[in-house]
């Protein structure tokens, strides 16, 4: 199948799924089943596209000279499409289990916007230029808003306001300015290997322009623009999984990485030192978020801050501006995606099975939910960077990139962060397996199968990714 067809498929399948959700709104099983089925097809399509050589391009419309809506998958975009495409059916399956298990309302609306969000994510992944990326970026914000405020109560609406407020204003004030600035400077917005800004901009302005992107892409949750992410934790857990692993934050860091690699260019950033400040900003984000995470006892809140911290790794990879660090950052999108989705799946499973949200109430729960806790432990170890799990490679490569660049401090930051990870994620595992039970649970009480299957698969993915790193590694030249 040609790359063009696959592009149309990846963009079109989620739209088709959302249309079918509306069509089958009175037949819940058909409505939900088709979404999983189409998800599997799109995972296959993403895989096929990943195998094909780059070079295909699809242009939808030319707005004005130099401003087009077009899709040009490059290695990084194909990787992100693969991550999103693979996790989508699993997340959808899980969603079905969760929504039915937790007795949430308005399934149709939820499934509809879930699919639209995936469509927007695919648009971001495959976008051929900054304008296209921006359009789908905004679409993702608006399509996830109804998901975040799904419960519809006062707390949800308040969180929704923070969510929309930060994401929309940062993107309109900073990101759009960056996009227009790049266009005015370079006359094009296309993602080109090696960047398009070299020689077009006074090096003096590079840090400022990069700042427009680093802080304009609110979805990357770089501190101090991270507030929306913990606020959005009021949403049902499948949304949290979507936000953290598949779509929103991954779209954010993906955009940061894509802009630094294909708009600025790694070499250009390296020569001008335009991203030096971002190394420090990312370091701060990594450590500060880890420390905040330790103070949280609500499981989802702790995982949220852990995400903020982990996103800092990817931004760091972009900021270090070496090929190895960029490869590490790209790999971390996949590694953290598999790991964090598992953690959130587990959090949701715990909620559905036992209605627990606070870590202090989960003593001894591991013996009651062995599969969930096993998966949780595997994913947590991957995020800490323990071999033979996926997170080890990306952390290792980031460290290598830091060494290439002479940033010994970054090595320290990464090590301290790993230790902090060990503390705040390890606590959950230790409490689960070794603490004396805080409730009387008899025997094994796991969540529904529709939740257990996806979380087991994603947990095993963390293991698999360690051994298939060659397949996923992107070479950004050097």
């Amino acid at each position: 199948m040609s790359a063009e067809t696959l592009i149309y498929m990846l963009l079109g399948l989620p739209l088709l799924a959302s249309a079918l959700v509306l069509l089958f709104r009175h037949q819940p099983n058909l409505r939900d089943g088709q979404a999983v089925g189409l998800g599997v097809v799109s995972a296959w399509a993403a895989f096929q596209l990943y195998l094909l050589p780059t070079g295909a391009s699809v242009t939808l419309v030319a707005l004005a000279p130099g401003l087009t809506l077009s899709f040009t998958p490059e290695p990084l975009g194909k990787l992100f499409a693969l991550v999103a495409g693979t996790l989508w059916p699993l997340a959808t399956l899980y969603t079905i289990g969760y929504m039915r298990g937790a007795k949430e309302k308005n399934h149709t609306r939820f499934m509809f916007f879930y699919a639209i969000a995936i469509h927007a994510t695919m648009g971001i992944a495959l976008s051929g230029n900054l304008l296209t990326l921006f359009v789908f970026y905004e679409m993702l914000t608006f399509s996830t808003y109804p998901l975040v405020t799904h419960k519809g109560d006062e707390a949800a609406l308040k969180a929704g306001r923070v969510y929309l407020g930060i994401l929309v204003s940062s993107s309109i004030v900073f990101l759009l300015f960056g996009v227009i600035g790049v266009w005015a400077l370079a006359g094009t917005l296309d993602f080109v290997s090696g960047g398009i800004l070299a020689g077009k901009i006074d090096p003096f302005y590079v840090p400022a322009l990069l700042a427009l992107f680093a802080f304009g892409i609110g979805k990357a949750a770089l501190m101090p623009l991270h507030r929306w992410l913990p606020a959005a934790m009021v949403a049902p857990t499948p949304v949290s999984a979507l936000l953290h692993a598949v779509a929103v934050v991954k779209a954010g860091v993906f955009t940061v990485l894509k802009v630094s690699v294909y708009i600025f260019g790694i070499d250009f950033l390296q020569q001008t030192g335009g991203s030096d400040w971002l190394v420090w900003a990312a370091s701060f984000s990594i450590l500060a978020a880890s420390i905040v995470a330790m103070t949280k006892t609500n499981l989802k809140a702790r995982l949220a801050y852990s995400t903020v911290s982990q996103l800092g790794y990817i931004v760091m990879g972009a900021a270090l501006a070496t090929p190895l660090a960029a490869s590490g950052a790209a790999l971390h999108i996949a590694a953290h995606g598999a790991g964090k989705i598992t953690l959130f799946f587990c959090a949701g499973a715990i909620y559905v099975a036992h209605h627990l949200t606070d870590i202090k109430d989960m003593n001894g729960l591991g013996r009651t939910m062995p599969i969930t806790y096993g998966a949780f432990a595997l994913a947590a170890l991957s995020i800490m960077g323990v071999p033979p799990l996926a997170g080890a490679w990306s952390k290792f490569m980031l460290m290598g990139g830091a060494l290439d660049n002479g940033y010994l401090v970054v090595l320290g930051v990464l090590m301290v962060s790993s230790l902090l990870n060990l503390v705040y994620l390890g606590e959950i595992i230790l409490r689960g397996f070794f603490a004396s039970p805080s409730h009387k649970w008899d025997g094994v009480q796991e969540a529904p199968l529709a939740m257990l299957i996806p979380l087991s698969i994603t947990a095993l993915l963390s293991l698999l990714l360690f051994f298939t790193v060659d397949f996923l590694m992107i070479d950004f030249g050097g």
């Binding site: 306001r161 759009l176 600035g181």
Partner: protein, 497 residues
Amino acid sequence: MMQHLPILQVLLPLLAAPFAALLRGRELAWGLTFLTTGAAFLISIALFLEQRALGTTLVYELGNWAAPIGIVYVIDAASALVLPVISGIGFIATLAARQLVAAEIDRRDHGLFYAAWLLTIAGMLGQVTTGDAFNIFVFLEISSLSAYALVAMGSGRDRRALPAAFNYLILGTVGATFYVIGIGLLYMLTGTLNLADLAERLPQVEETRAAFTAMAFIALGLFLKMALFPLHFWLVPAYAHAPSAVTALMASTATKVSVYVLIRLIFGVFGIEFPGLVDGVGLLVLTLGIAGAFVGTLAAIVETDLKKLFAQSSIAQLGYMAIGIGAMSATGLAAAFLHLFNHALMKGALFLAIGMIAAQAGRATMGTLQGAGKQIPITMTAILFGGLALIGVPLTAGFISKVYLIRALLEQDFWLLAGLTFVSSALALAYVWKIIEAAWLRPRPEGAPELSETPSQYMPAWIMVIATLGFGIYATPLVDAAFAAAHVFIPATVGAP
């Protein structure tokens, strides 16, 4: 027939006006206005297409008297672009006027209302087509005098329309007087009123103080008419208290025509080489434009009456057009033309939608909008899109004008100005957000009046919304036309579009 289109463009609405005044019964007067504005719109489209196809200037000599003795009507790339804006908005606003006017104007006055309505449209079309400086003044007065009357007609519903109209009249007259003094000086210096002739003869006297004074008078008079900060105080009350249909028509056209006349006079007559133009007028317009952009946007953010809010936003948007003019480059002028066009579409959509709400609820305020997203979703969505276009979100027309404006500034290395322009346009998010929050994120309060919508009510606004989106998604022909218009005044030197 085809060669008479330039004169028909103006003459048709001008001649239809007295008939409208004579017709009794509101449907007849409206019907005549509808047909006339529709025909004027078709004519302007035909002129635009013909001019674009030929690529030359079409000159129409009145009574076959050649210039400079006779008066000529000139259709070049610039006027051909502005005519469809005025006649098109006039047509769509007329479409909406049927319901708005029925709700807001006393039945007996409908004939007079539509007569004034047609006159103001004829006056604006005349200012754009004519190639004679004094003729511009005549049309300026025709359109202004009838506009004062239209604003005052809001008094049946809102007594504040009378002082607003009076204010508007005084300041409008001052502006027109300044303009005519400037033209008088030019006539004294050169002995001609024909614009092309003036442009030819002015270089011989360009070092004189009188020529500079003439430029100052003309520019100042037009600043007043286009409501450039700080000469904008007449605009907000006039827009806020006028009948809703009048607000929609004027907000999209009246000030735009003055922007056009300013460009025509400053660049077309004095020319970019004129001493003191770039450093004097250019810098002044740039400064006032950016100041107006901030003042208007900030005032809009704290405003709660929707008509006033969007009137303040118009001050800001006119500031952007001024910035484009002040950049003193082909790209800047193209950006000004693009924004003139695009802003007319989005403000038309907004004021038509708000007018429908105001006609139902008596006023349109943030309070009226609370929770309205559920009651009148289609109308509110039109307002949402209009608002997004004002911010300059991609895929709306506002984005296109914004990128070219920023590019014009960066071409000249005005980094700070580009930043400020961008920040002020992004600040528009604050007042659009207020509307989103009121309409969708808050429940409808108990006892709030019931709002409803029918296709005939929201259709006019939606036509404009679709145009806004259409010219945002496929803007290439418009960008080409805007650059062609800009190149009438400043030949292509730097970069293609």
